[in-house]
Amino acid sequence: MNKVVANAQEAIKGIEDNMTLMLGGFGLCGIPENCIAAMVDANITGLTCISNNAGVDDFGLGLLLQKRQIKKMISSYVGENDEFERQMLSGELEVDLIPQGSLAERCRAGGAGIPAFFTPAGFGTEVAAEKEVRYFNGKPHILETALTADFAIVKAWKGDPMGNLIYKGTARNFNPMMAMAGKITIAEVEELVAPGELDPNQVHTPGIFIQRIFQGAKYEKRIEQRTVRQKN
């Protein structure tokens, strides 16, 4: 089972205007840099992007925002991005803000064939508007539905031709759930290894969830908040 494609250009084939995408990452950590760049080049527009954040002005999904390729964002936190805020407040950009845990769980549910589930998050807030409320053990919960996408695009540390993936550190974040929830899921990896090189016991995302995989080039892995302490 060989799912390897040559590069990002080949990987994003079939992504068309007005499609819904999921993109892994938290802030700029663990984002599919190569595929984002390829989509900027390909000028695909009218996209609905499901991603925890929207990048910064000049990196990550911010690059797609700058070129007005995104019609709607479904996210949990979109601070630190002036262009985003401008487009949102002016009404150019639709935005659906979702509690982070509900976003993660809704992606997992989409991949796991769970069409809906109850969560306490958001009860009594804007998020609960028009959603069913039900009490369990005396505590109010709201019904949230699954999210899926035409394409999910994830970034991993290592991968093999079957699509098995291993993430590194907190670059894991939303990638595993989104990998499950794409009709087609593309994985870009820092290192593509031969079959059998990944320990079956340590695979984070089973290859069954991945349809295309490639080794990305020139990862910038930009740091958003460089915080350090001094050696004394």
Binding site: C29, S76, V78, E80, G169, T170, N175, T227
Partner: protein, 218 residues
């Protein structure tokens, strides 16, 4: 009156040995610097790490190791990494003993608002709605009044809510208060702060019973 560090120090006294703790961005983050001696806690960051350590030494930053504030961090010995769904399973499933977060407003029945100023600030709730809806033990760390001098402890929140009837305790630059049936119950005064000052800075119902001691901060 306390500064932000003082608020963090006072909240640090609430930590108990063996607790898992989630600290929000801002003042709560500072608490990690003041853990009392003999107390062992582990910090959870909702982007997927348990056993978060201090900032890295210069030159040792790893772009793949950040906290929920997107700051570079380190991992303690015995740390572990997980995905966002598992992270919020910990939060929603009440496996975390203490959540500390900031707020723009808190009402005297425990409602909290901290994610949105309509038409002006649109950052999103991040994990805050999951945290406040799930945690049994939530402490809000904030200044008692906003930059315009208006009370942040209200009869009713004016901003869009993050969660309802969830805040249990508030530590501000002026006081420590519990939220009980009937309002904010004043527990402690910050050093040098009078009851009158606290009354004046509190718009919501304030319950004052008996002697109110001054905080003791090491």
């Amino acid at each position: 009156m306390l500064d932000k560090k003082g608020i963090a120090k006072r909240i640090a006294q609430e930590l108990r040995d063996g607790w898992y703790v989630n600290l929000g961005i801002g003042i709560p983050t500072l608490i990690a610097n003041y853990i009392p001696q003999g107390i062992n806690v582990e910090f959870q960051s909702e982007n997927g790490i348990l056993g978060m350590g201090p900032f890295p030494f210069e030159g040792e930053e790893d772009a793949d190791l950040i906290n929920a504030g997107k700051q570079t961090i380190t991992a303690m010995s015995g740390a572990c990494i997980f995905d966002s769904a598992t992270s919020f399973a910990m939060i929603r499933g009440q496996h975390i003993q203490l959540t500390v977060l900031g707020a723009m407003e808190v009402s005297d029945n425990g409602d909290i608002a901290n994610w949105k100023i309509p038409g002006r600030m649109v950052k999103g709730m991040g994990g805050a709605m999951d945290l406040v809806a799930s945690a049994d033990n939530i402490i809000v760390a904030m200044m008692h009044t906003n930059k315009k001098g208006k009370s942040k402890l209200l009869r009713q929140c004016t901003l869009p809510l993050t969660g309802v009837q969830c805040v249990k305790k508030i530590v501000t630059n002026l006081a420590v208060l519990d939220i009980v049936e009937g309002g904010f119950k004043l527990l402690e005064r910050a050093p040098g702060v009078s009851i009158e000052e606290i009354k004046a800075a509190t718009e919501g119902r304030l319950i004052i019973e008996g002697e109110i001691p001054e905080m003791v901060i090491a």
